[in-house]
Amino acid sequence: MDRIYLFALQAAFVPIAAPFFIGLTRRVKAIFQDRKGASPFQPYRDLWKLFHKDEVISKDASWVSRYAPYLIFGSLLSVGAAIPVFSDAGFSLFGDFLAMIYLLAFGTFFLALAGLDAGGGFGGFGASREMLVSALSEGGLIFSLFALAVAARTTNLAGIARGIAGVSFTDFTPIIIAFVGFFIALLAETMRYPFDNPATHLELTMIHEAMILEFSGKRLALLEWASGMKYLIFILLGVNLFFPWGLYGGFGPALVVSAIVVFLKATVLAVVVAIIESTMAKMRIFRLPDLLFTSFVISIIAIGLLV
């Protein structure tokens, strides 16, 4: 029974907390820009507002646009339920990190199709760039997580968290190197600087925002929420797989402590992302592959040190 509670708690955390981390990142960026910025809870109000608006769907759009937001949101919900959030208890619910990466690709696939569906120029180019970035970041993502799998001798996510927790500080160098590779993939997959500008859909900077340009109302809310969930999922993977200290295996009062620890770690990583966004310029699209291949090569170095 405890396991069911724990599972429900973990599965609910990602969708519930995701808007907060988006808001937090925006707030930190605002402070860097010498603005006061909105409260970190503003995204919740935005979502509420969007859910209660009428929506416009293009005449050229097909059922792909109608159902894609549900498919994308659903796939991210299931990924959020399968990753270690507060606990590294053995939830190998449906598989390992490959299953997770390909489920995320499922969402990306439909997002790109939704971008193409209405036949607008913006959506099409957004989809093209999205598939470019996600195809090239997959190598770095798989290899950085594979480095952990080599160290932990399992590719199951909870197993990786337990295995890395047992790695001593003296052997931690390869894990840090793999994290650098992962972090680049994180920025690419969650469409943040220097890959994409999450704050605008201006032509020159657009990837994610361009694909969802045709959406409004509840479907836009689902897509925005889903992209927040993806951001939180990557942050949680970063802190819970690479630095899995403080994860509690059971269900009890100690879980509160582990929840606080995870929350703090995730906050730190979100702030780091915000700082990078504030201090870095966006790159030209043809410079991005260099960065993504760097992530791939760095992860190979980490694997080389581990095997």
């Binding site: 097909s62 796939s75 919900l77 619910l93 449906f94 489920l103 199709l113």
Partner: protein, 681 residues
């Protein structure tokens, strides 16, 4: 009942169906519809019979074998359908069944245009020869079947002979397949010399004492010969032109199962005939797989002919199959038959999956082509509204080939990944590097395949029609939709029942002599709902369940939160201008950035032709045309120099034959002297 099915008579009945089908359709060739229906009815019966026969033989585990001697001592008609053969016979039967059902509707657009009796004849001969290739157990008999298969498929490729490109494609196919066959001949002759037999089972015993150099030569020539049929890069050049030329249901069979016969024979040779496998064989196969998979998908991205695009994906998927096969061979050479079993199961699983989803995609492409009469993606667009069911089936195929869960392609790629992960953990330094290269290529292949199919599906079915033909396209006939629907369900079912199918494939792998000693209890654990391969577990049913629950939560949530909101249909945001189809992204534009990034490998070309109003005064251009393409690296750096080389040698050799009788007499004299001296020494 199962005893009756598992008899030689049952097997021959399948061949009889094809024979009746082929001869009958020739006889009725005056009446298009009669010939087409006759041929397809018997093709359906024959493939259904072979499917039942194969499934029965896999379930009961009985080996059906029988032999008929012929007038020639070296040729005997030996059949032996063991588990491996039964798997391929069943796969051929399944895909042929679907393609034949599809053909009832598809062939209608050939009526009055081409001779359907001839098509029916070669189609049935082709199917029969495919089954014989998988069932033959004598090298000479095998070669007869192989050659029949090649010739029948050649005639199917040039069936639409009024288009010149098709005849050129057929010629290239004929040349390449015969170069390959020459190498296969050579491999079998070497085997005969080493073992004194043409029987596959007897070869194994004879090879025990032969030298590793001979075995290496046998392996290399077999790899070359069967690799040419499978479409391994750089022997693939015939494939992207031959597969699109054939009628679509034939393309589905060629891409789905015919190229797999090359894989079948590689497995047969490396795991059945050869008593042992040295490390370098596996490394070669693994690297070829890595190159084929990555380059295959990159070439596919640059294509805007729908069937050529799919043909390049066949090369990619053959590469993925080789990754599984190569890792199995490497593990075998290290004496790790347990891990080798995982690699082989991955290869067999992907063979099966690729056959289903690629057949589905080719049939879908055929449906689109028969509705729009063009193969150019840029002329499609918006077909999802005109052909909603075809669009759904094509989408399912696209998701399966992009390895997206919960479909079958994901599971076999996962298993391939796991087999290669084991290679990184267990093997020596050099082999680790090889495995890391292979994993890297598979990692990028997955993402690029998804990008390619977003392009293929998006540009074909979504947006607005880009041509009048696409705007008026009708949905295709019932028989075509039924076969696509069944294949779509199969892609889902092969993913869902991954546990059950893996254990069947494991038994097939364990029935091969090189893996008989394998102990898989520690490395592979299979239940209905989950498969554990050494250090990871996956459960396809729960992935499906999780996805379904997630999507339902999203739907319920929106129903509860935003119930009263209206949906307004309006035009796409057009920045104040009038949207035209030319404002949509094109297939070329979609993939151009990826091609630019990989320009070191792909070598894109750009040629601009401008026509001026006044050719003297070159100021006012009338029409500007830009040709974007890729340099054919293989033709330029391999095939053309090779052809040049052979021509030069021939020129030199020709000089011997100078027409002077005195010279010929002197050749005889010199030869005699040389021989006398040689014998004296």
């Amino acid at each position: 009942m199962s005893g009756v099915i598992a008899s030689p008579i049952a097997f021959f009945s399948t061949l009889c169906f094809f024979a009746v089908g082929s001869i009958g359709s020739l006889l009725f060739s005056r009446r298009d519809s009669v010939a087409a229906i006759w041929a397809n009815v018997f093709a359906v019966l024959g493939s259904l019979a072979s499917l039942i026969f194969a499934v029965n033989s896999l379930v009961t585990g009985k080996i059906v074998s029988f032999s008929y001697a012929s007038n020639f001592s070296i040729l005997s008609f030996t059949f032996r359908i063991d588990a491996l053969s039964a798997f391929f016979v069943g796969l051929i039967g399944l895909i042929a069944l679907m393609a034949s059902i599809y053909a009832f509707g598809y062939l209608k657009h050939y009526y009055q245009r081409y001779n359907l009796g001839v098509l029916g004849f070669f189609y049935n001969v082709f199917l029969a020869s495919l089954i014989l290739v998988a069932a033959a157990h004598n090298a000479i008999f095998f070669l007869l079947a192989w050659e029949t298969m090649s010739l029948a498929s050649f005639f199917l490729v040039i069936y639409e002979h009024r288009e010149e490109t098709n005849v050129a494609a057929g010629t290239l196919y004929l040349i390449m397949t015969h170069i390959g066959t020459a190498f296969i001949f050579f491999a079998f002759l070497l085997l005969y010399k080493a073992t004194g037999t043409f029987d596959f089972s007897a070869m194994r015993a004879g090879l025990a004492s032969s030298s590793s150099v001979v075995k290496g030569m046998i392996f290399l020539s077999a790899l070359f010969g069967f690799g040419a049929k499978a479409g391994i890069i750089p022997l693939h050049i015939w494939l992207p032109s031959a597969h699109p030329a054939a009628p679509s249901h034939v393309s589905a069979i060629m891409s789905g199962v015919m190229i797999k016969t090359g894989i079948y024979m590689l497995i047969r040779i490396c795991f059945f005939i050869m008593p042992s496998v040295p490390l370098w064989w596996g490394v070669v196969v693994l690297l070829l797989g890595a190159v084929s998979s990555l380059l295959g998908v990159l070439y596919a991205l640059s294509e805007h002919d729908l069937k050529r695009l799919l043909a390049f994906h066949s090369i990619e998927n053959i590469g993925i199959i080789l990754l599984g096969l190569g890792s199995a061979m490497i593990f075998l050479s290290f004496g790790l038959p347990g891990l080798a079993t995982i690699g082989l199961v991955a290869a067999l699983y992907h063979t099966m999956n690729h056959a289903t989803f690629k057949a589905l995609l080719f049939l879908g492409a055929g449906a689109v082509i028969s509705a729009t009469h063009t193969r150019n993606i840029e002329e499609y667009g918006g077909l999802i509204k005109r052909m909603p069911q075809t669009a759904l089936f094509f989408l399912i195929g696209a998701m399966a080939i992009s390895a997206l869960p919960p479909f079958n392609g994901f599971f076999s790629e996962w298993l391939t990944f796991q087999a290669m992960f084991q290679g990184v953990v267990t093997a020596g330094v050099f082999t680790k590097a090889v495995f890391i290269t292979a994993i890297g290529s598979l990692a990028f292949t997955g993402g690029l395949a998804a990008a390619c199919f977003v392009k293929a599906f998006g540009v074909t079915f979504l947006g607005r029609p880009r041509s009048i033909k696409a705007g008026n396209a009708p949905e295709v006939s019932g028989s075509m939709r039924i076969s696509m629907a069944v294949l779509s369900l199969l892609t889902l079912a092969f993913g869902f029942f991954s546990g059950m199918i893996s254990s069947i494939l494991k038994n097939i792998a364990l029935s091969l002599p090189n893996l008989e000693s394998a102990d898989t209890t520690t490395v592979m654990h299979i239940t209905f709902s989950a498969v554990t391969a050494v250090f990871a577990t996956i459960s396809m049913p729960s992935i499906l369940l999780f996805l379904a629950v997630g999507i339902m939560v999203a739907a319920v949530l929106t129903v509860f939160v935003s119930r009263r909101q209206k949906i307004i249909r309006n035009i796409t945001w057009d920045c104040g201008t009038n949207l035209t189809p030319r404002m949509e992204i094109t297939a070329t534009g979609f993939s151009r950035s990826i091609i630019t990034i990989f320009q070191g490998i792909l070598k894109p070309t750009k040629q601009m032709d401008v026509e001026y109003h006044d050719s003297e005064l070159r100021y006012f251009p009338k029409i500007g045309v830009v040709h974007l393409g890729l340099t054919d690296v293989y033709e330029r750096y391999f095939y053309r120099p090779a052809a040049h080389f052979f021509l030069k040698i021939s020129e030199q050799v020709k000089k011997i034959q100078n027409g002077n009788i005195n010279a010929y007499v002197s050749y005889v004299f010199i030869t005699l002297i040389v021989l006398l001296i040689a014998f004296a020494i």
